[in-house]
């Protein structure tokens, strides 16, 4: 390494680049694992959201039926 923190040879540059790329890949994999988990949880929530919307819709319909203006 030079005083500026850069490798002296092209092989050194390559090695450092590859190490950085490997680290980048590890981080992306961690991110991917979390993305996958989010996707899986979203899927679980999707059903509950659909149920909640249906209930809310039914309640609104009932509300309109029972309101004095109807």
């Amino acid at each position: 390494m030079t005083a500026l923190g850069e490798p002296e040879t092209i092989e050194g540059v390559r090695a450092e680049r590859d190490a950085a790329s490997t680290r980048c890949r590890e981080l992306e994999s961690e991110l991917g694992a979390m993305r996958g988990r989010v996707r899986s949880l979203e899927r679980a929530m999707w059903r509950r959201t659909a149920q909640r919307r249906l209930v809310a819709h039914t309640v609104r319909r009932f509300g309109r039926l029972l309101s004095p203006r109807s």
Partner: protein, 583 residues
């Protein structure tokens, strides 16, 4: 008296009395009358069970045979089989329930298809409180999946002549006897049919295989033997391996005489940053393909876009000089047409097998090609696809499901996501796979006239797969080969409305109803979601019906048939008198 049409076969060995009662109720209440029930009591010790079976035997439709001592499920099942006189054998476990119209629905399907020799239906599980879960909504006949998972199981209805012909249940396969019998019968069946309706309920008890397949560890080892024997019979040279998911197996084909494979890679030399390094994707693809792949006879045909930068062309030329077996072809014309480039590459390829590969694919698995090639030894396999992952390891391709529209199964989930019933870990038939990595025999490719050139950018792979399937061949997706595909996760497909219109005009019916999906799936969902999970009102009705059914099946048999339920007026809450406001 003429023989009944259906012989329900049930081996009994000390089931919980309440579940036996539910089982009895579900058979006695069948809406179809043409059945007999062949029961073999395998040395039950419970006085309640013995007494109930004795009273049951008073019914003229029930034939009871009693073993003094327990001799195992295979011997008991064969005893019950020996009592059968019907044309069809219906397999029922002593603690499970049939849907009340199960036999009627099966009879209707058989009437419509006189050449059917084996039939199976969808199934679910019932928790001890009677609530349904674990719905197994099955595909139509999927032989590759049956090799890796006994997905047919219940309700299985088999032509008795074939069951007799194959010798009934095999001794020594206790715990795996159903899978073994189904494999042997389907090897001889003229036609296998699927009724896409839940007609069978597994009642889960602690220690039962329904609750936990690992509860019967000996069945796993037997599974390897069962599938191994089947492979020997059908002439597939392969090794059967266990997977992490109990009940699922991996069939690894041996490739003794590897055919030449031509890998066709069209490229324009595009660059993209992958794992922090921005360089032309084709470099990474070719480097990994040639240095990682362990396959004795492979050539690479690179189809270059005329606009490819000179530096990239020089680099590819340098690479080619190291690999003399490979070729570089320059495509003509400015207009991009993926199909035309693949067809051009195929014209210059000499292999018996072709692999269509995108230039943004990276190989890290040494035996990926051998695993894929293994399937092509079977003449009815037209296409093999593999698992593709994004750079971050999430799933890009797990096969295509046509569910109103073509969808990538479990797209964006974790790469190691097993999926329901471990479906993303097993080989199985699918409607289509992506051409980002697709293996097809040369003869099939030529017979189909190559990739359809009227689809320049999108859907050419889909149409090719549908055409191959139309020709009676199978499209296999396998997780045994996993590659990286650096397709942008955020970019949508460059699809023109003309291409979409053309696709639906040609293949509308196939895109809406996938034989490897299920009509009970919620539409537009790529994760095999039952439609009652997406529609609450359906879900509540289903749960209520099953609860009532399990609570007292005999009592409610007459009033709970589906037609009665459908016709019954919906419950309307009484309107309460409106309260006066206090103000």
């Amino acid at each position: 008296m003429s023989a009944p049409r259906f012989s329900v076969v049930t081996p009994v060995h000390d089931p919980p009395p309440d579940l036996l009662e539910a089982c009895i109720g579900s058979v006695l209440s069948q809406t179809l009358g043409a059945w007999e029930w062949c029961v073999a009591d395998d040395g039950s010790r419970s006085p309640a069970v013995i007494s109930r079976l004795r009273s049951l035997a008073e019914d003229p439709r029930v034939r009871l045979l009693t073993h003094e001592r327990s001799s195992g499920i295979v011997a008991a099942s064969n005893s019950a089989l020996s009592l059968a006189t019907g044309e069809w054998i219906v397999l029922l476990d002593h603690d499970d329930c049939l849907e009340l119209h199960a036999l009627a629905a099966v009879a209707e399907a058989i009437d419509a298809g006189p050449d059917i020799d084996y039939l199976y239906t969808d199934e679910d599980k019932l928790a001890p409180d009677g609530s349904p879960y674990g719905e197994l909504l099955k595909p139509d006949w999927s032989p590759e999946r049956l090799r890796t998972q006994n997905y047919c199981t219940h309700l299985s209805v088999l032509r008795r002549a074939i069951v007799t012909d194959v010798g009934g249940f095999r001794e020594g396969f206790d715990g795996r006897q159903d899978h073994d019998l189904i494999l042997r019968v389907t090897e001889r069946a003229r036609r296998v049919h699927h009724v896409p309706e839940i007609l069978y309920h597994w009642c889960v008890t602690p220690g039962s295989a329904a609750g936990d397949p690992a509860a019967k560890p000996h069945a796993q080892a037997l599974g390897v033997r069962t599938i191994g024997d089947h492979l020997d019979r059908v002439g597939i040279d392969a090794e059967v391996q266990l997977t992490d998911n109990p009940g699922n197996f991996r069939v690894v084909r041996r490739v003794e005489d590897p055919p030449t494979v031509s890998v066709i890679v069209p490229t324009a030399g595009t660059s993209r940053a992958v794992w922090g390094i921005d360089r032309p994707l084709i470099y990474r693809c070719l480097d990994s393909l040639c240095s990682v792949t362990e396959y004795p006879s492979m050539e690479v045909v690179v189809v270059l876009d005329p606009k490819t930068r000179g530096r990239v062309v020089t680099e590819i030329e340098r690479w080619r000089r190291q690999d003399v077996a490979s070729r570089i072809v320059v495509a003509a014309g400015d207009e991009f047409n993926f199909s035309r480039r693949i067809n051009l590459g195929a014209a210059h390829a000499s292999g018996e097998l072709l692999v269509l590969l995108n230039d943004d694919v990276l190989v890290e698995q040494r035996d990926w090609l051998t695993r894929m090639v293994g399937f092509t030894a079977e003449p009815d396999v037209g296409i093999v696809g593999c698992r593709l992952l994004y750079a971050d390891g999430t799933l890009q391709h797990g096969g295509i499901l046509c569910n109103e529209q073509p969808l990538h199964i479990f797209h964006g989930f974790a790469g190691d996501e097993p999926g329901p019933f471990g479906l993303l870990q097993i080989d199985r038939e699918v409607s289509a796979v992506t051409a980002a990595c697709l293996l097809t025999p040369r003869r099939v490719f030529d017979e189909m006239g190559g990739l359809p050139e009227h689809f320049a950018v999108a859907f050419n792979d889909l149409e090719y797969c549908l055409r191959v399937r139309d020709s009676g061949r199978r499209v296999i997706w396998t997780p045994q080969a996993t590659l990286f595909h650096f397709e942008s996760q955020s970019r949508g497909r460059d699809v023109s409305t003309d291409e979409v219109d053309e696709l639906y005009r040609r293949w509308g019916q196939q895109l809406r109803h996938d034989p490897y999906g299920n009509p009970q799936f919620a539409p537009y969902q790529a994760e095999w979601v039952p439609r009652w999970r997406a529609d609450t009102s359906l879900g509540i009705r289903r749960r209520l019906r099953t609860l009532l059914y399990v609570a007292d099946p005999v009592q409610r048999a007459s009033e709970l048939t589906p037609s009665v339920i459908a016709a019954r007026p919906r419950h309307r809450p009484r309107r309460r008198p409106r309260r006066r406001s206090r103000r």
